[in-house]
């Protein structure tokens, strides 16, 4: 069931276009991420849904209701800000109680709900603390409790992990996802961090310059990127330039420096015979040791750089005038390569994706 729907939403600030003709449909209970570089319009999109920014054109519907003209307080949407926005002059208890007090709930019920919310985010005992007495992760938990306690229709998260250190970020990533799952709330998550989006989301919309470039599950976005921009933005990519030789349904044969390889065409992509195409292969998909002699494609290359990272070893391999990064698991059964070694480069035919 479509729960949140953007129809031809655009937002202009003066002459600059922040969001252009956006159409989005978000399912009930879904964890949906807006992913893109800064200035791509993801935050503006979120702020339009929250009611802080009025769209220039278009309509936003939530649960069948047109909310486009409603002020934030009439929308029943909970938002967690990048800096958490904990009210500094109130205790943790009063922060979490704020939305309930605004809803004029009886005192006893407020107390009971706040206590339950504190327990849910693991902050029982912190009722009387002030914002300045909390760590980043604790502020995060309070901000989430303050929003969840009012049981909003939608949860909006605006880069909520970017203010935390790396270790905390990893921890909170799974924590937020688990809370979201157990509450079952429709969630829209704004981030510029592709690993957060891949880990947490049910679906991702990749945005750039005010437009949605691709919508899909993390697997689709990572394995079948619709454009070179997405391939480069999400994860690490080897992009090899070649020419389309032949197109057979979803398979495209590509000439790369005289060697013929095949790439998969996704439903988003089309290739035209004789034109330039780019072949995407992820570093972890490439093998330097053949498992099967018949495996194709096979390109000849030379080791130019070795980066030891403990669990994996990364090699930069020169193929003709192009380079690929290859990530190999550090296992005793795979021989270690040396600089300037000549190697044969393989990958599974399915792992190459042709991008126009």
């Amino acid at each position: 069931m479509v729960y949140v729907e953007f129809s031809t939403i655009s937002k202009h600030f003066g002459t600059s276009v922040a969001v252009a003709d956006l159409d989005l449909q978000i399912e009930q209970g879904e964890f949906f991420s807006l992913l893109g570089p800064s200035g791509c319009g993801k935050s503006t999109t979120l702020r339009m849904l929250a009611g802080f920014v009025k769209p220039t054109t278009g309509q936003i519907r939530v649960n069948g209701r047109n909310v486009t003209a409603l002020p934030p307080e009439a929308r029943d949407i909970g938002i967690v800000f990048q800096n958490y926005a904990i009210f500094p002059h109130m205790t943790v208890f009063d922060n979490i109680a704020f939305g309930l007090v605004e809803r004029k709930l009886p005192r006893a019920e407020i107390k009971q709900k706040v206590d339950a919310a504190l327990a849910e985010v693991g902050m029982t005992g912190f009722e009387d603390r002030y914002e300045r007495e909390l760590s980043g992760g604790q502020k995060q938990r309070v901000a989430l409790a303050r929003v969840l306690v009012i049981e909003p229709e939608i949860l909006l998260l605006d880069e909520p992990l970017s203010a935390l250190d790396k270790k905390m970020r990893e921890e909170m990533k799974y924590w937020i996802k688990n809370i979201q799952k157990s509450v079952g709330i429709t969630t829209i998550y704004v981030t510029h961090d592709q690993s957060e989006a891949l880990t947490m989301s049910d679906r991702i919309a990749v945005m750039d310059q005010g437009r949605v470039l691709q919508i899909g599950t993390p697997v689709e976005i990572y394995e079948q990127p619709a454009s070179r921009f997405i391939a480069e933005f999400i994860g690490e990519s080897n992009l090899l330039d070649g020419t389309a030789l032949d197109v057979h349904g979803a398979v495209c044969s590509i000439d790369i420096d005289g060697t013929t390889v095949t790439g998969r065409l996704t439903q988003n992509n089309a290739a035209i015979k004789g034109q330039a195409v780019t072949l995407l292969v992820r570093p972890e998909m490439i093998r330097l040791h053949s498992l099967d002699a018949s495996e194709k494609p096979k390109l000849n290359g030379t080791v130019r750089e070795i980066i030891y990272q403990g669990s994996v070893v990364r090699y930069r391999i020169q193929i003709g005038h192009q380079h690929v990064m290859v990530e190999v698991a550090n296992r005793p059964d795979l021989a270690r390569l040396d600089l300037d070694d000549d190697v044969e480069v393989y990958w599974n035919a399915d792992s190459g994706v042709a991008i126009p």
Binding site: P71, P72, E73, A85, M90, F98
Partner: protein
């Protein structure tokens, strides 16, 4: 004890401190003289002129008139200045900085210019408020409000707007979000601005010179008029009371704010 400040800096600080305190010392001691005339150092110490001030119809009424005028000015300036500061901080339009500079211009303009301009306007416009309490009040508000805009503007600059947005999306109307979130967080700026407005109005001379009514003079004008004809120490005694009032108002508001804080903590 470990010294945190380098010695030359410490000496300069002490000198600056003395320099600032000296006029106050002069006024206080001159007001406590036993002699007939305003001199420094005083000829002996007594409460003679303080008692004379307390018995003087002219000074006492001027003192209370100034007090009332400063209070009224403070109230209007605080409300106006806070509204203007909020408007400047929250609206995004071309010429915002120009508008800010414009609202602060009475601080930059010489008081004589502001006083004279208003006087000329009141006279020629036929509003009938030249040399009345109302005209004087308007002049004082005009002169004091920029101080409120300045202090409230400064506290708004450090106020995070997402706090207000968070309150809105939790169900608070714009008015309630302001009252419950924004106001408590900029209250210190408003308080500082209102103290400024009070003190500026209480000590205002140039604007008052043009606008005050003959029968209701603010204290600085009364002191000036008195000193023009006779050099008596009761003017200095009046100064003592003016200084006391200003210090008391600063201490009192500080105390009030602390009490409010205290109550808030216990309430939560």
């Amino acid at each position: 004890m470990e010294r945190k400040i380098p010695l030359p800096m410490l000496i300069l600080a002490i000198l600056g401190f003395c320099y600032l305190l000296f006029p106050i010392l002069v006024v206080v001691l001159a007001g406590l003289t036993t002699g007939e005339f305003l001199t420094f150092p005083p000829k002996g110490l007594s409460l003679r002129w303080v008692i004379s001030f307390l018995n003087s119809e002219k000074y006492l009424s001027a003192f209370f008139f100034s007090f009332k005028l400063a209070l009224m000015t403070m109230i209007v300036s605080t409300i106006l200045g806070t509204a203007v500061a909020l408007f400047i901080a929250r609206s995004r339009f071309v010429g915002r900085t120009a508008l800010r500079a414009f609202f602060l211009s009475p601080v930059v303009l010489p008081g004589v210019v502001v006083g004279f301009a208003l006087y000329a306007f009141f006279i020629t416009s036929g509003l009938g408020i030249s040399r009345t309490i109302w005209g004087l009040w308007i002049g004082h508000i005009l002169y004091s409000t920029p101080y409120v805009i300045g202090t409230v503007g400064a506290s708004l600059a450090t106020f995070d707007v997402s706090l207000e947005e968070a309150a809105r999306s939790l169900g608070a109307s714009p008015m309630r979000a302001f009252r419950k979130i924004t106001f408590p967080n900029i209250a210190q700026g408003i308080q500082a601005g209102s103290i400024f407005a009070f003190i500026v109005s209480f000590g205002q001379f140039e604007v008052s010179l043009f606008l005050s009514a003959p029968n209701s003079e603010p204290l600085p004008i009364a002191m000036y008029n008195s000193l023009r004809y006779k050099f008596e120490p009761d003017a200095a005694a009046a100064g003592i009371f003016a200084i006391t009032l200003v210090i008391a108002s600063v201490l009192l508001t500080n105390r009030l704010v602390n009490i409010r804080r205290l109550l808030e903590r216990q309430d939560g």
